[in-house]
């Protein structure tokens, strides 16, 4: 085959150019550590890397969201625990006051201490986070949620609370609305409230009662009327008797699945009412107890009945705080779990990105030396061949 002299040069040049381009490429991969310099190097890989980067960034943001939620939830947990402690102290005071041997003055001293506990509770309910936003105001986090005016407390916050996204498909409430925590606590024993009538003249008192058979209970206002100190009738709101019997001190009266205990001796005509429980606020429970303890007109039976009812309501409030506290704890757990899953996901994503974009050093170094050898061989062979010419032998 005839080969033109130019072909030797051109071929050598083409080969050397191609090898130099390959060398430059491999060298760039080695120096940057990246296999993919732009999408053209691996469009599908680059698309995945972009997607992973977005997911990675989102995952880190979810983790930040989790931190923000955690900060507020921990503040809330602390507030709930403090509120429980206040109520526990208040309960101890009330138990202390539930002693017929105390004088009115001693009870008033206790009432003064109880008033202090009430103020502490309001102050806890009005706590703010580090940025000065109220913890228990719901959406209206710039509005002081609880305002005390005399014995009554009003809620000025919002009933809705902020949700934070802690993963692509999971949100947690960043707190609880003040009305759900402090205001809407079931009254009495949770099902009904008990009270001694203001007109009672006997010394009998009623406890908070309980439900023994929920199926038999019908919500209604019932009245226990003593026709004599030892005989009673229970009537419902329409005046229909539902139970009656004889009474001795300390007896339990049962009707329609409910059970109440009375102690002391009633006078004929004394009445006790059992009403379906509504909602009471923790503040009004304490405020009512303060009023009760300060009272000089109540007889022993009425006083003890009111204290019994108040204690039951304090227990309801403590129960409510503990339920919400448990829910906060569950949310904190869920955040921790999600964040830890997020960290794993971030590690996996980073590894996947690295797998796609990072250069395989062993392979690249091998390639570099192969290309180097090929280039050297091309250069050497060209240098040798270019010296060959028949003209060298003509003289």
């Amino acid at each position: 085959m005839r080969i033109s002299t130019l072909t030797f040069t051109t071929n050598a040049q083409n080969s050397m150019q191609a090898l130099e381009t390959a060398l430059a490429n491999t060298q760039q991969q080695l120096s940057t550590g990246k296999r993919i310099q732009s999408a053209a190097d691996d469009p599908a890989g680059m698309a995945r890397v972009n997607q992973y980067n977005v997911e990675l960034s989102a995952s880190k943001q979810y983790s930040t969201n989790g931190d923000a939620a955690t900060t507020n939830l921990q503040l809330e947990e602390q507030a709930l625990s403090d509120a429980s402690n206040v109520l526990q102290s208040a309960r101890d005071l009330v138990v202390q006051a539930n002693n017929s041997s105390l004088t009115a003055a001693q009870r008033q001293d206790i009432a003064t201490q109880l008033q202090q506990q009430l103020q502490d509770l309001v102050s806890i309910a009005n706590r703010t986070d580090s940025t000065g936003k109220y913890l228990f105001a719901g959406y209206a986090d710039g509005t002081k949620p609880f305002a005390m005016s005399g014995a009554s407390t009003t809620y000025n916050g919002s009933s809705s609370v902020r949700q934070l996204q802690i993963s692509s498909n999971q949100s947690v409430s960043q707190g609880d609305a003040g009305d759900a925590v402090f205001m809407n606590i079931p009254a009495g024993n949770g099902t009904f409230t008990t009270a001694a009538a203001a007109t009672n003249t006997g010394g009998a008192s009623i406890d908070a009662g309980s439900i023994v058979n929920a199926g038999a209970w019908t919500a209604d206002t019932y009245t226990i009327s003593f026709t004599s100190p030892t005989q009673y009738t229970v009537t419902n709101s329409s005046g229909t008797p539902v139970a009656s019997g004889s009474y001795a001190d300390g007896d339990t009266i049962s009707f329609n699945g409910a059970q109440v205990s009375l102690s002391g001796n009633p006078a004929a005509g004394d009445q006790f009412t059992i009403s379906p429980a509504g909602k009471a606020s923790a503040f009004s429970t304490l405020a009512n107890l303060v009023t009760t303890l300060n009272s000089t007109t109540l007889n022993t039976g009425q006083l003890t009945s009111a204290i019994n009812s108040g204690l039951a309501q304090i227990d309801q409030a403590i129960g409510q705080f503990s339920t919400i506290s448990a829910s906060v704890g569950a949310r904190l757990n869920s955040i921790t779990t999600t964040q830890s899953a997020g960290t794993t996901q971030q590690t996996d994503l980073t590894a996947s990105i690295s797998k796609i974009t990072d250069v395989d050093y062993a392979a690249a170094v091998t390639q570099l030396s192969t290309e180097q050898i090929a280039l050297q061989a091309t250069q050497a062979s060209y240098a040798t061949i270019s010296k060959l010419s028949l003209f060298n032998y003509l003289s």
Binding site: Q37, S38, N53, S57, A58, T64, S160, L164, Q165
Partner: protein
Amino acid sequence: MGDVFSTSVSGLLAFQRALTVTSNNVANVSTPGYSVEQTNFSEAWAQPTASGFIGNGVTVSSITRAYSEALANQVRNSQSSYAGANTFATQAALVDNMLSASGTGISDSLQSFVNALQTVANSPSTTAERQTLLSQAQALVNQLKSYDSQLSQYQSDVETQIGDNVDQINSIASSIATLNSQIAAAQTGTGQTPNSLLDQRDTLIDQLSQYVGVSTATQSDGEMNVYIGSGQALVVGGTAQKLATTPDPYNATRENVGLVNSGGTVDITSQITGGTLGGLIAVRSQVLDQAQNAIGQISVGLTTLVNQQQESGMDLTGALGQDMFSVGGVTAAAASTNSGSASLTVTRANLSGLTTDDYKLQMTGGSWQLIDSTTGQSVAMTGNGTSASPFQADGLSIVVSGTASNGDSFQIRPTAAATSGLSLLLTSPSQIAAASPVQAAASSSNSGTATISSPTVTDPTDPQLQSTTSIQFTSATTYSINGAGSYSYTSGSAISANGWSVNITGTPAAGDTFTVKSNAGGTGDNSNMLAMISALSSSSLNGGTTSLTGAATNLVSQVGVLTQQAQATASTQQTVNQDAVTARNNLSGVNLDEEAANLVRYQQAYQACAQMIQAANTMFNSLITAVRGG
């Protein structure tokens, strides 16, 4: 004796010529386009005598060049393909590199914007977080606009290069025409081929093939006609046609390529293939236009989704939210050739229907036809084009006014100008509408178990939107709104009034009340921000199949694929071209060893002829001496 002299002299002359040809070959060993020449000898006419025909020496019948039309065509075709693919790859790589920049891609910026929304959602009443969001929004706008203007810059570079290419092609074509005339004259005058002129012309056609794909046809007088595109004659004999840049009928700033003839300039842009010119034309529509449209689609998506949610929300001051971004409108350009009075008003009707394609609306036989310019397919439209019933197709709403003549057309580019018009409208951090304007609450005295969801704003313009509205259950299965009406209740179904919608689930008791009222003071509400985040991550584009970040990722990989394909084609065509050049060189190139051998051969033959003259001289001297010395 005389015969020996003349025969030997014919040899001397012939080998002298042959040596000249050889030296010319050696001298041109490195000349590009030079075809090795060969001396063709033939016997001189033999003289008849009684003793037979006696030869009269040698003549040089012709000097021909080693040349193959087929090999030359292979070189040119592969050269055009390589130049086209290489130009495409080079231009596309600019876009590819711009979009691939790691950590600063559109998808990264979109996610940073979403992260800033999340940060506001974490603490909606904090100004610092809101300020960060505004900065992030501005950064996103800046990035999209910078990509868009970079693409426009590349467009204008391509326009300039198209103009340069046209000038080069014209200059080469006119040189080829001149050479054609010279070749025809030389060939007619001498009957011999003017090798150097032919080499020059071949070199010029090779050069031309770098700029544009060519085909050739040789005429009997040696002239060569050159065609480009789908057979448009560029050079016919001694005449070169002129190419000219001509403004695009829909866009005067865009250069198309036209062939100038007596009737005017004919637009042949779509016919041009191969060469740098073909590559430039292809990359302009396939990469630059497409990328600009795709970025525009993202800008439109961002603006639509964010603004929609802003309008449904309430800002920190308690006012209803305002638009966060503004975006450029639809480009609808009438063809410069339109003769009717029709004009178009085109708006975007729905986000998910929009595509990244361009369209042509054409009046054909009394009716309007919409054609997707990218796919070439006809697109069905509903409506009749009036403002009461606009044409609807692919997310566009088109209103035609005036009267069109048959053949009038408009180019519609739905998102091309969107990004250049993108801007951030909000100036104060408090204008970010993180909260919902309404909130819902259950009455604390409710005894049922039903719960109410957060309200969703369905019509932010409803004047009663923030009025306090109560939903009262008159029984477990019926409710009234603000004491009026009696509607039947199904758990979980939506209840709508005053521009909002809520869901009540569970079992309500008679007398239970739910209230929807103004969220004034709800500075801690982030529900609208969460709705915005959810809208931005939803599949809202391309018929509900693609999210904004998905579209950004698709753009990167589409440009990547186009660049990769062009690079692969360029690489293949480069090899094909190198092989074709080698094949042609092996035929037409000079081989020095061959020339050295020829040199020795012709030198020896020349010396032999000279020796023959010496011999004849000796013979003649012997004869003279014999006669004189007798």
